[in-house]
């Protein structure tokens, strides 16, 4: 249907009318278009979340600042967290998975194209619902509002006693809808990986990106279910007289914490594993070597997936578990450092002995290695429960998880943008602007999040709209805020680069990086049917085999 028209878009004079084009995008079931829709949607919400972060940081630039009221500040950090996790990071990850997995396993589309479209629009509607709360959140109570219960929305703050009006309902419904959408996408990705691989591609010959996204999909299915159940229980509490989390009637506030974090911790890996996937594709190509220890990388990924289901209560070391309970979660949390360490060493070994080309995607991935190392080590500090009794709920934790999500995950996502932009758009991005983006963002990132560890160690709790002078926190907060401005400018450079390159970038050709996986064997952008004839593979690097017939990979695997 839309296939014939998609190829026409290159020829300006024959472009379809705007309404038709929009109609095609809205009704599309093509995994590539849905992937791009996810990504554009996520970039929009990344901008919203970024603006909220800037407001938070301006308020905290000095003690007793009055830039925003406490009420507005609380909405800002709630919306920032919710937006960035559910409506920026997850759609970005899903967007790339949608776009790349079928191409990399040599398939014509995902297993369930219409489920795919349904899931995207559910997620999109969830995000709009969340932001509609700015207009309708207070319901009959008055003017605009937004959720202000924090992104993990601990009970009983979410009960109608403490959260009258509808802002919390918008939060619940937005997450409920997008959660169902996420599960649909996860089922689709898992089914695609299991059922749609091209001839010759056994599980052991899949690109790592497919393996990692398959693991991610499994984690989404397992972790989204308890979150969705908890949201329904909360709705029952709020409107049907339930007492799940109603502490006045024998309910349990701790129950919500368990439900939330058994979603919340695997969620970190739902975002991190696709980030590992990008690094595992980009680092080998720019080091000109295959990934070091493929079977171990797969095993480490699965191990991380399994262990991540058993670490959730390390978010709850301060809620008064028994010493045995605490010790168990110290064990499981520290155990996850082992497979994660293996991954870092394997990437390092991939670079070792290579001929490393520092193009923008590789720069982001190298910075990711350094930053993820630090994020992992501060994670070990937080895993030591008594240390966590001091650091939990402080700015140290905020610094730690931003190190993971920005320094680890967002950096590789930026890398993925530059790496696959030529494939998605058919145009090369501007390398100079890419490097400006990289250096500005890296400088801003380190100004903000390196120094954010310090006020945490000095006793500054998170989620406070203001603080007392004389605690030794002032200078650090000033530096943190300055770093945010660098990041904001760098993000504008990034968005500008994408727009400029889409319109005026050099034509990329099908294989600008001398790549090895199947997406580089088809046109840029790929036709709706992906491959004129289905490829057949004999190794993990089919294009290496093609380019080096004298020394193919399948001799060694």
């Amino acid at each position: 249907m839309s296939a014939a028209r998609a190829t026409v878009a290159v020829v300006r004079s024959e472009r379809a009318p705007l309404v038709d084009t929009l109609h095609e995008w809205v009704t599309t079931v093509d995994h590539k278009r849905l992937g791009i829709l996810y990504i554009i949607y996520a970039l929009l919400f990344l901008a919203f979340g970024g603006i909220e972060a800037i407001i938070i940081r301006i308020q905290l630039i000095r003690p007793h600042n009055t830039f925003v009221s406490p009420q507005v500040f609380n909405r800002m950090f709630t919306m920032h967290g919710t937006t960035m996790i559910f409506f920026a990071a997850m759609p970005l990850v899903f967007g790339f998975a949608n776009y790349l997995v079928p191409l990399m396993i040599g398939a014509r589309d995902t297993a369930f194209p219409r489920l795919n479209a349904f899931s995207f629009w559910l997620t999109a509607f969830g995000g709009l619902l969340l932001y509609f709360s700015f207009l309708g959140g207070n319901g009959l109570y008055g003017a605009g509002n937004a959720p202000d219960v924090g992104w993990f929305a601990y009970a009983p703050l979410t009960s109608r006693t403490f959260s009258p009006g509808h802002s919390t309902d918008f939060w619940i419904l937005a997450l409920l809808l997008s959660g169902i959408g996420s599960m649909g996408t996860a089922i689709n990705i898992a089914a695609t990986v299991l059922c749609m691989r091209c001839p010759g591609m056994t599980l052991g010959k899949m690109p790592l990106l497919a393996w990692l996204n398959f693991t991610m999909a499994g984690l989404v299915i397992l972790s989204m279910s308890p979150l969705t159940a908890a949201q329904l229980m909360l709705l029952v509490d709020r409107y049907l007289g339930g007492h799940f989390f109603d502490v006045q009637a024998g309910g349990s506030a701790v129950l919500w914490m368990h439900f939330f974090w058994i979603f919340g911790h695997p969620e970190v890996y739902v975002l991190a594993i696709p980030a590992f996937a990008f690094a595992s594709e980009i680092i080998p190509v720019f080091s000109r070597k295959p990934i070091f220890g493929y079977p171990v990388m797969v095993a480490a990924t699965l191990a991380i997936g399994f262990i991540s289901m058993s670490v959730w209560a390390h978010h709850m070391f301060t809620v008064g578990m028994t010493s045995a309970g605490n010790t168990f979660f110290v064990l499981s949390t520290m155990a996850i450092a082992v497979p994660t360490g293996i991954k870092i060493f394997n990437w390092l070994a991939t670079i070792w002995g290579g001929k490393v080309q520092y193009r923008t995607p590789m720069l982001f991935c190298v910075a990711f290695l350094f930053q993820f190392l630090i994020a992992g080590l501060t994670g070990i500090m937080l895993a030591a429960a008594p240390f966590d009794w001091q650091l939990s709920g402080s700015y140290f934790v905020v610094a730690h998880f931003h190190y993971v999500i920005v320094g680890g995950i967002l950096f590789t996502i930026f890398g993925a943008f530059y790496y696959w932009f030529p494939k998605m758009s058919g145009r090369m991005y501007n390398e100079a602007l890419g490097k400006v983006h990289f250096w500005l963002f890296t400088a801003g990132f380190h100004l903000t999040f390196d120094f954010m560890h310090v006020p945490g160690v000095l006793g500054m709790p998170r989620r406070i709209y203001t603080y007392e002078p004389g605690r030794g926190w002032d200078i650090w907060n000033l530096v943190i805020t300055i770093g945010v401005l660098f990041q904001a400018v760098a993000t504008l450079v990034f968005l500008g680069n994408l727009l400029w390159s889409k319109l005026w970038g050099k034509v990329a050709g099908s294989d600008p990086w001398d790549g090895w996986t199947l997406e580089w064997s088809t046109a840029s952008p790929p036709p709706a049917y992906n491959f004129p004839s289905l490829p057949e593979v004999r190794s993990r690097r089919p294009l290496w085999d093609l380019k080096h017939p004298e020394d193919p990979d399948w001799h060694y695997e």
Partner: protein, 341 residues
């Protein structure tokens, strides 16, 4: 390099705090300036963890820096691909086993610290206090006496020879809160319908600061904590003084009548008067406290009057309403409050 910077502040902070803990601390809420056994234990464990993770950081950092500099593509090099290496079982085994050993050491050290803090049994001389978290203030009940006070906790100093630790039972009247005074102990949450406990045994007298560290609503930021550590004698005198009823004074009878005839009594208790509300802080000995509004302002007559007139001037969103009192009523009530020593 920029990467080095990231670790430096953490380690410098830890080191500087150690060096300064005897004199002027870096911050009154520095976790590396402990003054009580649980905080000591945590600080010791933290330094061990910092040392091990710091060593791992330096080693991996050097390897990474070496790799990214050494193996960059050189201008004069030929067009060919580098040697294609697919993996090495021995090497991969090494970097699996070594982290397992490190993790085991960390786990054992951590388990010991957990047990020593969590499984401590109160000695006979222990002071027991119930702490009740409220939206944006703290309520304290001293067991074995009728003392009820708010926000400013008084405890006796403890020494290894005569240990007089303070054991806190933690409750919440509404949402989740968390009791965190970094120099005395790690934080423990106050959760409704889920009693918790923690203990401190400060070894030096003085004031220790902290604040609520679990988001509890609009004024989470101004739910500050002050712990006054006193010598045993001072503490006993304080307890004696606090257990008495409110001072009665004829000169402020008008203020007392105004207080007792407005809605103030629905929320506040003043022992020895008709005010028996329990929703807000006990005011029986209000003037013995240095701050009002859970640390939102100093307890001066001017601040007190302003607070009674409109609490949201200091603490927008706090649950005490402005009562719409006239100037003369405000003067009278403030004068009455000032007699509550």
């Amino acid at each position: 390099m920029r990467i080095l910077k990231s670790a430096v502040p953490i380690f410098c902070t830890a080191a500087a705090a150690r060096a300064n803990s005897a004199g002027e601390p870096l911050s009154p809420t520095n976790i590396f300036a402990p003054a009580s056994t649980p905080a000591d234990t945590i600080s010791g464990l933290s330094l061990l963890v910092l040392t091990i993770t710091g060593a791992m950081f330096v080693i991996v950092l050097c390897l990474l820096l070496w790799a990214v500099v050494k193996f960059r593509e050189k201008a004069g090099a030929g067009p060919g691909e580098p040697a294609q290496v697919y993996g090495s079982t021995q090497v991969e085994l090494a970097w699996t086993v070594i982290p397992v050993l490190i993790v085991t050491i960390l786990l054992l050290a951590t388990a010991r610290a957990i047990a020593s803090i969590q499984n401590a049994i109160p000695p006979p001389g222990a002071v027991e206090v119930s702490v009740i978290g409220h939206q944006y203030w703290w309520e304290y009940h001293y067991k074995k006496s009728n003392v009820v006070t708010a926000n400013e906790l008084h405890v006796p100093v403890s020494s290894p020879v005569h240990p007089t630790p303070t054991f806190l039972s933690l409750f919440s009247a509404d949402t989740d809160h968390s009791f965190w005074v970094p120099r005395l102990a790690g934080k423990t949450d106050l959760i409704p319908n889920h009693p918790n406990s923690m203990w401190i045994d400060p070894r030096e007298t003085g004031v220790y600061l902290g604040q609520c560290s679990q988001y509890c609503g609009v004024q989470h930021a101004k739910m500050l904590l002050r712990v006054y550590v006193q010598t045993r004698d001072e503490f006993d005198r304080w307890l004696e003084q606090q257990s008495g009823p409110a001072a009665a004074s004829d000169s402020t009878i008008e203020g007392r009548r105004t207080f007792e005839s407005t809605a103030c009594v629905n929320c506040h208790t003043i022992r020895g008067s008709t005010a028996t509300g329990t929703f807000g802080p006990d005011l029986t000995h209000l003037m013995s406290r240095e701050t009002i509004g859970a640390g939102a302002a100093l307890n001066t007559p001017a601040n007190l009057r302003r607070w009674i007139q409109d609490p949201s001037a200091f603490k927008p969103g706090c649950l005490m309403p402005a009562m719409g009192l006239s100037d003369s009523q405000l003067d009278a009530i403030t004068a009455y409050m000032e007699t509550l020593r």
